[in-house]
Amino acid sequence: MSPASQAKTLVTFWGTRGSISTPGRTTEKYGGNTPCVGVRYQDTHLIFDAGTGIRNLGLELTEENTPEGCSLHLFLSHTHWDHIQGLPFFQPAYRKDTNLTIYGSPRKERFLASILEGLMDFEYFPVGMSSFSADITIREISRAPIELGGLRVDWQEQVYHPGGSVRYRVSANRKKIIYATDVELNHIFQPAGSSQEHKALAQDYLEFISRADLLIADGQYTDEEYGGKVGWGHTSIELLLDVAAQAQVKQLAVFHHDPQHSDTFLDELWMRNRSRYHAAHKEMDIFWAREGLTLAV
């Protein structure tokens, strides 16, 4: 085997919490930081979302302190607070030897650059984006896939989230990792009237995640909770499991935990349902995404 084929893609969860950070004793196991996932393949660093979890990723990258600096690629699912709020605290952005490219949807009324500049407007934060010393490029993604040091990144728009969001697929070494958060799959897979549009969206989703080695996906609510949160742009866990199994996903990380879901709540939910999950989805490993966890894919 060539060294490239032996190389592992490492996926680290730096923030797994949805909506708002939830620090404290009751969330220390699954984590209180908002979304940020690092994907590392050889010298290529991809980052998905810049929630508060990106701060710790920045500290680790700074600690490594590679003499040649680092080249980072940050892919934003969308620009709601919980997915960008950590950016002003991302230490490598203040280092001259960092190259940071930020990617996001082109389908915004305002350019991505102006949205991010707004985040660091003086009214909200004392330091403006011009204080970043890194070489920063902001790119609105185009239809073509992005090739980065042996990795390929494809993307698709997701419509059932207020303001929209983007899902990404990373392919490396014949492995596929999907980052698909902030989408209400219940709208697509359980519509009141199963229209052609819903069928097409469902087909797109299933093809995109098909046979993924790792799917990191929005599972914010239990089925019981979902009834009171229709239209909020997030998926129920049970439906996510069914959809992922239908697409023959190998490993599923249930992500974007609800702020009200404490460690005890998630552990009890797991203990109550794990036998049923395993029985219904024999070929798929399922787990709650957890901050501080690194997997090799």
Binding site: K8, L10, T12, E28, K29, D285, F287, R290, E291, G292, L293, T294, L295, A296
Partner: protein, 146 residues
């Protein structure tokens, strides 16, 4: 005027009760200066790996604040004599006040709560599986003996 009367009545009652309590000597509390509350006892962060053996027998290994290697090799702090355990299989490190478990490129992997991990920050009651050997991680903070 009415209110003032009620206030007076209440105060009289309170004064009487206070006087009665004083007769028994337990209503007054000696005052301590605020300085007395500033002294803090040193806290010790303790963490253990409980290795669950055959027949429910277990062995508890206290984790220090350095590195600890788990593997088949006799040089490992926790030696697991099983052919499916790699010579140097995994490592536990104390960093930034947390215990980190890292797989050292083992053949059969390191599992935490059933998930195959490359690295993982350990939390109380995490169940680790290395080559079929199960371990329970626990940590607590306690007062250091003076």
């Amino acid at each position: 005027m009415t209110k003032e009367t009620e206030k007076t009545v209440w105060r009289d009652k309170a004064d009487k009760e206070s006087a009665r309590d004083n007769e028994f000597g337990y209503s007054t509390t000696a005052e301590l200066s605020r300085k007395a509350f500033r002294g803090e006892l040193p806290i010790k962060q303790r963490a253990c790996l409980e290795i669950i053996g055959a027949g429910g027998k277990s062995k508890v290994i206290e984790l220090g604040q350095g590195e600890l290697t788990i593997g088949r090799s006799p040089g490992c702090a926790i030696q697991l004599r099983r052919s499916i355990v790699s010579r140097s299989h995994a490592q536990v490190t104390f960093r930034n006040e947390e215990y980190h478990l890292e797989d050292l490129g083992s053949t059969n992997g390191t599992y935490v709560n059933g998930i195959k991990v490359e690295r993982c920050i350990l939390r109380n009651n995490d169940q680790i599986d290395i080559g079929g050997v199960k371990m329970l991680f626990s940590e607590q903070k306690s007062l250091q003996k003076l």
